[in-house]
Amino acid sequence: MRRVPLLVTFLSGAAIASLFFIPHHKAQAVNSKLLEWTLVVYAFALILGSLSLWMSHAKKVKKRAEGWPYSMVTLVALLAIPGLGIWKGVGAGSPVGMIYDTVNAPLASSMFALLAFVIASAAFRAFRARSAEATLLLLTAIIMMIGRVSIGELISANLPGITEWLLDVPNLAAKRAIAIGVGLGAVSTALKIILGIERSYLGRS
């Protein structure tokens, strides 16, 4: 029985890899169908996720663990929001739409906005001239930060050009080198999985 998942992985991996080389309309129709199946499988996965979330928080509430009222809020939301969605729909102006617009969207935007603050504190701590390489990094960072915004042009008309060169030449060269390594690593991992060399994701026992 343990060979069945390996066989499924091998066959589906080999089939999808082959479809990349076959432009025939029938093969591409199969490709589209496989992609649709992925969507269906993921829809079921959401049920799994919801169950996992429910069990994790229900346990906290049952044990009255620290912070259990927050778990209670999660459980109520987990039931109420899908319920409201089924009852009143999810379009603009519906209760779910309003919850999304007035609670979810502002909270998510605020979290993203925090990035500006943590980037500043991380830069303050990380950009220290401790070695020759670190000094080079520091100087490049300063040129980039100044040269990429309007104030850079006021300081020196050459700064935007220097930043463009930094982005186009050293940055792109390093990125491409890392990207080639990542690409080969990804191919290697994919082959290991398709050929059954790497099986830890199956939970081997």
């Binding site: 432009p23 992925t38 799994l48 290991k192 939970g203």
Partner: protein
Amino acid sequence: MLRSAPVDQALETRWFDPARLNVLIGILLFTAFLVVNILRAKANGALYVRPIAGLKALDEAIGRATEMGRPVLYVPGLSDMSEVGTFAAITILYRLAQRVAEMGCEIEVPCYDPVVATVIDGAARDAYSKAGRPDAFRPGCVHYVSAQQFAYVAAVNGFMLRERPAANVYMGSFYAESLLLAETGNTTGAIQIAGTDKVTQLPFFVCACDYTLLGEELFAASAYLGKEPVQLATIIAQDWAKALAAAAIVAALLLGALGHPQLAAWLRIA
């Protein structure tokens, strides 16, 4: 005027796209390198792979967590099972969970994707069994949190600030949340080890973490930690492929400079 090529899928009757012959040859060569190195590993046993500082530090991190009686937090990235980075994160977790089980400390794995959570749960249970400590596995230590990027970040950051894990390990595919997670971890004083295949996020991890696995090191990590000859052989095959890619780039450049751009054109992926 710019215009789409008149491609009509319904009329396509070819069973092979010759423009993709280069990719096919590349994959066949890579597979050949893999087979040759696996045979070499089986014949010779040990293969040398250069040490990776971030992976050596994993043991230190688990030891620290055990001494302090605090958990290890493992964040397996924010992608689904269609990303190879997620597979790398799962295979690394498998090795890490074995060490955690052996050392007798706690691990916490909050997941962004429900399928990933299920797969990791199975892998972690198996890792504990393999370490001879199936009873030590705490059900619920691998759990789904939210498939919304910043809701997930809020939950993980909250865990860091409340539970103060001794070690935070970030492995897999990360996006805009990378610095938010790593900076919060930094404020708690945890030892932090990160690895991602997302090149854009690497500078953020380098700034905020103690050790960072750069790109391909993420994919090599599982083989490195497992030390199994067949796994190590895949890293060497990867290096051979990289050498071939570098040689092809240099050759294409030289030939192009000499007025023969055919190789450069052939290497282009259609």
